[in-house]
């Protein structure tokens, strides 16, 4: 078994320590560790974090391999510092049976870049009508724990109630894409001053907030836990804050792009900014940042949504919704949360590794950086400054809103169970 000595990294941004990896595990953490015949990684000035965990990724396989495959998506994940990603169920066919989730799970293992934990659909074909075989997906080799119709909202209150109740049997969680369908018919961007001016169908904040309000009450009523995907409004934050204060078992995520970008950017009519939920206002962005800092929002999730060039290089109305996010997430979080003083690196580790692993029950991920733990680790150079250049992405798609934008930080190394998947910023 190979040994690796990470020398002189600031563990979780705090103390400078050496970390010795032996095989798949962290063998020792301390100062002045003896390298012996270990491969030495000089990590001076770098931050060592547990490997990041993304609870919300779209890998597109099976069915849309022209956008992304499990292999290209996990390579992108490794570049972004992730060692575990949860793959959303809106594939073709939909991941609503044990067969499909096992296929995705196996492709992840074969890729070797990042563990892939499939998310199972809540309803058959994401149609919102009949519960999918949630138990069979949980009992499969993939061991599904998170269920979501993401891309669509489980809008029928009865179906949502049943799903929340049903997954209690095996400790599952329903991750809701909160979007009231009638209130968002024809919606193309945030409803507000900008949509009125641009003549684009408005997506009111209340379409998200009303579903969240309903679902936290349902979760309370049936005594289950619910996870809310990609919060995008200040009002959503208020509802989750209220629900938590009431003791409801709710967790919530925010995407990096909702921490940085606003609907003002849509004035360009550039579909790279077309995303679901839509980019909101400055006020929303500030509320989301604060909520992530104070723990109301538990985690950052990328909602990595790869689309081929031709699906974005067209007029706004015809363009696909979504943006890639795995390879820029940490930089955006550093920019919006760390450099603003809202969160320290230990906080980043909490919101991007510990908590998402906990919510999704990802075995062996998001663990403390200490001896005996699985060696899932990420090294970040926080001093790096550079323009985002999608040409260098490992993702098969390039639909990033950050092209040409200067963002701080760079993931230099990623280790998955002791094996380097990224070395000096290059995929191993």
């Amino acid at each position: 078994m190979s040994t690796i000595l990470i020398r002189g990294a600031k563990v979780l941004g705090g103390d400078v320590q050496d970390v010795l990896i032996d095989g798949e595990t962290i063998a020792a953490v301390g100062t002045g560790l003896d390298a012996g015949d270990a491969t030495v990684v000089d990590a001076e000035g770098q931050i060592l974090l547990p490997g990041l965990v993304d609870l919300h990724t779209h890998l597109r396989e099976p069915g849309r391999e022209d956008s992304e495959t499990v292999l290209t998506g996990t390579r992108a994940a490794a570049r972004g510092g992730y060692t575990s990603v949860f793959a959303m169920a809106n594939t073709f066919p939909v991941a609503d049976t044990a067969g499909v989730v096992e296929q995705v799970w196996r492709l992840g293992r074969e890729s070797g870049y990042c563990d892939v934990q499939p998310i199972g659909a809540v309803t058959v074909g994401l149609e919102g009508k009949q519960l999918a075989e949630l138990g069979a997906m949980h009992d499969s080799a993939a061991g599904v724990t998170v269920f979501s119709d993401d891309g669509k909202c489980v809008h029928d209150a009865v179906i949502m109630r049943r799903a929340l109740e049903y997954v209690k049997a095996f400790g599952g969680v329903v991750a809701q894409h909160a979007q009231e369908p009638r209130l968002t018919e024809g919606a193309q961007m945030n409803e507000g001053v900008v949509s009125a001016e641009l003549g684009l169908g408005g997506w009111p904040a209340v379409a998200e907030e009303s579903i969240i309000a309903r679902d936290v009450l349902l979760a309370e009523h049936v005594g289950s836990r619910v996870h809310i995907c990609h919060l995008s409004t200040a009002g959503s934050v208020e509802i989750v804050r209220w629900a938590k204060s009431r003791g409801i078992d709710v967790t919530a995520e925010v995407t990096p792009h909702h921490l940085l970008l606003t609907d003002e950017l849509v004035r360009s009519y550039n579909p790279v900014y077309k995303v679901n939920p839509p980019l909101r206002t400055e006020k929303d962005v500030m509320a989301l940042r604060e909520a992530l800092a104070d723990g109301t929002i538990d985690i950052v999730a990328t909602d990595h949504a790869p689309h081929p060039h031709e699906d974005k290089d067209c007029e706004w109305a015809a363009a696909a919704m979504g943006m890639v996010g795995l390879e820029t997430a940490l930089s955006v979080v550093q920019h919006t949360m760390v450099e603003t003083g809202l969160l320290d690196w230990a906080g980043v580790a909490d919101r991007m590794a510990h908590k998402p692993a906990e919510i999704g029950r990802a075995q062996g991920h998001g663990r403390p950086v200490s001896a005996g733990e699985p060696a899932n680790l990420t090294l970040v150079d926080p001093a790096y400054r550079g323009e985002v250049n999608p040409a260098g992405f490992a993702s098969r798609s390039r639909n990033t809103p950050y092209e040409g934008r200067e963002l701080p930080g760079r993931v230099t190394h990623t280790f998955l169970r002791g094996r380097a998947t990224l070395v000096d910023g290059k995929l191993a």
């Binding site: 001053v193 009125a196 001016e197 003549g199 408005g202 031709e310 290089d313 007029e315």
Partner: protein
Amino acid sequence: MMRHLISAADLTRDDAVLILDTTEEMARVSDRPIKKLPALRGRTICNLFFEDSTRTRISFEAAEKRLSADVINFAAKGSSVSKGESLKDTAQTLEAMGVDAVVIRHSASGAPYRLATSGWIDAPVINAGDGTHQHPTQALLDAFTMRRRLVGEDALGQDLTGKRITLVGDVLHSRVARSNVDLLHTLGADVTLVAPPTLLPVGVEHWTCDVSYDLDAVLLKSDAVMMLRVQRERMNAAFFPTEREYSRRYGLDGERMAKMPEHGIVMHPGPMVRGMEITAEVADSDRCTVVEQVANGVHTRMAVLYLLLGGNEPAVSHARPTDSENK
């Protein structure tokens, strides 16, 4: 002048007045026995219509022909939104064919902007209506009609300062309303929107205009009232209870029209739904400018095309028609 005409909001006061003045010159040409100028001879203009609108297309086509341009009509009905690439493909085809300007009509808001800014094509782009966003030449022809009626034919160089204009009806879905609010504000007019709250966009309070739900109160001091078209398909979407109720509260009949100041005019972008939004009595009265608006549409589009493609010289020699042949 700008390179493209995408939004009425992009026009400065001076740009807009220049277009109105040029329109006046074009209108005088149209009163001549030979209604044709050689200004765009040898230039090719493509009318790229992704959405049906015979009226607008014919208006542009007439304008182009009166300027001696070669015209290509391209109708790509309904094909674009279902298949995202077609706008780009079409643009590149037109670019390869060397067209000198593209007049585009599209059901998707922002499509002309995208066409003008995406690098797909180099030619000037003129927005002939996009989704619920903008219809700048409509706003210009409306403004021209108002200037002629409310200021006079010798209003060269003047704007609409102090004129009170009321727009009534489905503002929410109306590119005409958006364009008019932008342009009329630029030209110094005071604009009031009147509609049921369901047909006003969220955020309208940030627009450069007033908003009222009470038509009768606003009519008393309106120099011009522009009725907006209410699409029949809105009827079932709970924007308002019934046609009858809409008509009672927001329709314009003779009795209501009588409340307007004596010089006040009634406008409509057409096609009119007689009965519900405007009664035949109003539509056929000499205060109603619908027919003039159509004629002025051609002159306005001539002016826009001329200025975007021809340059900054006056379109017609400055020798004013002294013989009052057009009176």
